[in-house]
Amino acid sequence: MTITLTVNREERIFSGDPRTPLVDVLRDHLRMTGTKAVCREGFCGACMVHVDGAPMASCLLPVGSLDGAAVNTIEGVATREHLNAVQQAFEDHDVVQCGMCFPGMVMTMSRFFQTNTSPDRDEIKAAMTGNICRCTGYERIIDALMSIRTNEATP
C-alpha cells in the first residue's frame, strides 16, 4: 500500500505496512528524528506532531489512515534563524534540559497559543497535561510559556 503525505509542506511517499506508526515513518524512513518515540502509548507527548493542524500523538497513528494528510513536525515549525514563539521562550528562559520532551512540547503549545492567546497558568498546565518532562523542570517551563502571553499583551 502506497501512502502519500505532505510532510512539512513537501510531498512524501511511504510504501510499507500501513499499520506502521507515523512516528516510525518519520524517524526511520524520512530521517526526521526530532519527533521522539518514547512511551508509545500517547501519554508522554514526545512524539507530538500536527496532523491537518491538530496536535496528535504520532505513536498512535497508523500511517495508512493518513493518506493525503498534511503533517507538520518539529523540523517544520520554524527556521534556525527565526524560532517560533514557544521555541524562543524555551531558549530565553533556559528551560531545555535533556531535550527529549521539548519537541513535543513545542508542537502542543504552538498550536495551543494559536487558539488561546492569553491563557492563565492553569490553562497552560491543562494544555500541557499530555507532555511529560522527566527532568522535572515544569514550573520554569510554565514560566517560559507564560512569558509568551505577556509578550503578546505588550504593545
Binding site: 499499520r19 508509545r40 500517547g42 496536535p55 496528535m56 498512535l60 495508512g64 497535561t129 499530555g130
Partner: protein, 291 residues
Amino acid sequence: MDITPYPKLFLANDLNEALRALRELADSAIPLAGATWVMRAPLRCETADQTLIDLSRIEALRTINIDQQRAVIGALATHEQIANALNGYNDLAALAQAAGHSANPAIRRMATIGGNICTAEFAAADLVPALLALDARLEFEGLDGSRTQTMAAFLDGRATRAHTDLVTRLIIPRTQRMSTHARLTLRKAGDYPVANLSVSIALDASGKISAATVAAGAVEAVAKRWTGFEEAIIGHAPSPEKMQMIAKTCLEEFDGRDAADAPGWYRLRVLPGLAADAFSTLQETTLGRAM
C-alpha cells in the same frame, strides 16, 4: 472463488464497505476507530497480524445531535467533540465531564466513544459508567439490518461479541435530572482512573433524592450500576457527607479488581470518597442552582 485483496489497513469510505470487509475478513480483521487502543497492542505483547478496517473516513459516524428528547452521538465522535458538544446540559454533564477529563488532551482528540465502549479489555474507561448512568442505548448496523441494545446488555455480552455489526450511534434520553462524573487517578492529571463514578439524580419538591442512577467503573473488570447505593440514597438530601456515609455501607456488591495500578481493596476503599466528590460537584454546580 475471488479473494478480495484487502491491504493490512483498509480505509472504508462508508458503512457498507466497512461491514462487507468485516464479513469477508471475519476473525482476521478488527475495526479501527480512534486507534488509541489498537496501536498499543505491542506494549501489551499482542502480536496478532490482523487487518485494520479503518472507520475514520465515515463522516456520518461523527455527528452529534442534541434536542429536547435525546442526544444522539455518532460512534466516531471523539472525547474532545463530546465534551464540547455536551457542555452546559445538566442532565448530560456526567458524559461531558467523563469525556473532558479522560486521559490527556491529545488522546481526547483521537479516542472515540465507540472505541471506548467496545474495548472489552479496557476496564478503566470513563465513558462507560457515564453512559450506564445516563441510561444510554446503542444502535448497531449490520449487513442484515439494524438493532438497538441497552448499555448494560451490551456490556454483558461484550467480551464474546462477534463483529458481525458495528456500533453506529449512542442514544441518550434527555431528562430533568442532573448528573456528574468523578474519577480518582494516581497522578493529578493525564492518567487512567483507579476508580470512577457517574451519578444521575432527580430531586423531589423538598430537595430529597427521588430517583438515582449510579455506575462505577475501573473497580471491576466491567463497569456496572451500583444498585445498592442507588436504592439507599432515595429520600435523602444529597449532601456529600451523607452520601459518603451511605456509600460505605453499600460496598459488598463489588469485587475489587487487582491490577498493576492498584489492588482491588483500594478501589473499594476510595469509592465512598468518590461519591462525596460527585455530590460535592453537583452541589457546587447544578444542584446549587436548582435548590
